[in-house]
């Protein structure tokens, strides 16, 4: 790929004593939305942590915008939404967004824009601790996007959101990508996969597909992504059964 934003090569990660990623390789094109899909416990969060540069890796390389993951110069280019929200529960949504904006040397303007981007305008003066689960994670999302990063790594951003909001969030992600941001979005909900430019299907720490949604479906011989995922797993387990 000529315009690669994130490149992972032969990545091996152990967590605790257990191997979680076994020689994982993939390339994520710039200015696109890539979906990272796989069941719970398959290693999605671990891969994202490695890309953000907070995960101790055993071997292999992770390169982001041409620099090793975790490089100092990448700090201002990355936005990372952790799976568990990371915002102050005893401050309001707006105070949180302004806190992070100030930390990145930005103003109230950027903070307010980020709140609007995640659809939390009506709740901006509420304490984060009083929000619903979905609102809470959107507050966290607002803080991750406030710096307008070139790379956005979002760990299950749509969990607990109602369908209308999910739709809006995906439109936002698309908008960010069109503006040049590279997004890696994890999910364990297959129907979100169709919204992505590319898919990484992961299971038990192994990459089982890296392609466009259409190509994934075509190679699995089905129009249903859930079914395609199943077919690909079976194909991996007993080679030759499915073409």
């Amino acid at each position: 790929m000529e315009n690669t934003a994130i490149e992972v090569r032969d990545l091996v990660v152990h967590r605790g004593k257990k191997p979680v990623l076994h020689g994982f390789s993939c390339a994520i094109p710039a200015g696109s939305v890539t979906g990272l899909l796989g069941p719970s416990g398959s290693g999605k969060t671990t891969l994202m942590r490695a890309i953000v540069g907070v995960q101790l890796v055993k071997s292999g390389t992770v390169t982001v915008l041409g620099k090793p993951a975790g490089d100092k110069q990448l700090r201002h280019e990355m936005g990372y939404l952790t799976q568990a929200p990371s915002v102050y529960g005893d401050l309001t949504v707006r105070e949180n967004a302004r806190y992070f904006a100030a930390l990145y040397g930005l103003s109230h303007k950027e903070a307010d824009a980020a709140i609007k981007d995640v659809g939390l305008e009506e709740a901006k003066n509420q304490l984060v601790g009083d929000l619903s689960g979905g609102q809470h994670s959107r507050a966290s999302l607002a803080c991750a996007i406030v710096s307008n990063p070139k790379i956005l790594v979002l760990d299950e951003p749509t969990v607990g959101q109602d369908p209308v909001l999910r739709d809006e969030l995906w439109k936002r992600f698309r908008g960010f990508a069109e503006a040049g941001t590279t997004l890696l979005v994890s999910s364990h909900v297959m129907d979100e996969a169709n919204r992505c430019d590319r898919l990484l299907l992961i299971r038990e720490g192994k990459l089982i597909a890296d392609d466009t949604p259409a190509a994934v479906k075509a190679s699995a011989g089905t129009d249903d992504l859930d079914q395609a995922f199943l077919n690909l797993i079976r194909a991996g387990e007993t080679p030759g059964e499915t073409s």
Partner: protein
């Protein structure tokens, strides 16, 4: 440098908007005024004499409530009551970032860890300065009101006395704040940090001081504990020691100079230790 400035701005914003800070500051000032003025004034008016002041003649009680005595009155409540509150503030501020998971984001996207920590420290010490200033202003106003109500002449303390008391108050508060910050960083959880620091300040230090009276070797240690230094600095300014029916926490173990030096050393050591821990340790 820009990172430190950005982080200071952010942490000041967080502290300013944090309801718990206003509650703690309010409680601190309320304790200061209650133990510094209200109880003594009531006992003076009622002629009954509180536990602390019953051994004093009414004129002595009144003179302690007048503007000339503000520096001593303000500092005497700080080793114990004020110290505990600042300890909690430091512990919650640092521990909260772990509890809410926010350090994780700060350390991956924000300025360097050193800058993020430096900004937090500057913001905390700013709060200390504001609190000490507020306590002095409040106490001067209260003492002036009492002097007017009791038709006493308005005599002011010498400027040097005010400056020394102000500096001592800053030092005592800064030391307890840094101790709290270290506890919060060590515990990585706000609740545990508060629990541990309370245990230290209220139980272990007093226990060691108690044992020191019986066991000689412990005495040398007990004489240089952070609480001993804070209490001695207040005692050196003229606050009545607890053992002489004075305020809890006020001691006369060390003289002023060594106590101040020791406090400065503790402040620096706690702040540096918390910083190193935060920077070197894998937090995320």
């Amino acid at each position: 440098m820009t990172g430190l400035l950005a982080s200071t701005r952010a942490e000041l914003l967080r502290l300013r908007k944090w309801p718990a800070l206003w509650v703690m500051g309010g409680v601190g000032l309320a304790l200061n005024i209650l133990f510094g003025y209200v109880f003594d004034y009531l006992s003076y008016r009622g002629g009954s004499g509180s536990e602390i002041t019953e051994s004093l003649a009414p004129e002595q009680v009144l003179s302690g409530l007048l503007p000339a005595h503000v520096p001593v009155t303000t500092v005497q409540g700080m080793p114990m009551f004020g110290g505990v509150i600042l300890l909690i503030l430091g512990a919650l501020t640092m521990g909260g970032g772990y509890g809410w998971g926010t350090w994780k984001t700060v350390f991956t996207q924000g300025p360097s860890r050193a800058a993020a920590y430096g900004g937090t420290l500057v913001a905390l010490f700013t709060v200390v300065i504001v609190l000490v200033t507020a306590a002095f202003l409040l106490n001067f106003s209260t003492a002036t009101l009492i002097a007017l109500a009791e038709s006493q002449p308005l005599a002011w303390p010498p400027a040097t006395g005010i400056v020394r008391a102000f500096g001592s108050a800053l030092l005592i508060y800064a030391m307890w704040t840094a101790a709290g910050a270290l506890a919060g960083t060590l515990a990585r959880s706000p609740a545990l940090a508060v629990g541990l620091s309370m245990l230290w300040a209220l139980a272990i230090e007093n226990l060691l001081r108690g044992v020191a009276n019986v066991l000689g070797p412990i005495e040398a240690l007990a004489n240089v504990l952070p609480g001993t230094a804070a209490g001695s600095l207040a005692g050196s300014l003229g606050a009545t020691a607890f053992s002489e029916d004075g305020t809890p926490g006020v001691l006369t173990t060390l003289s002023g100079g060594p106590a101040a030096l020791l406090l400065a050393a503790y402040t620096a050591a706690f702040a540096v230790a918390a910083g190193l821990l935060l920077i070197k340790r894998d937090t995320v």
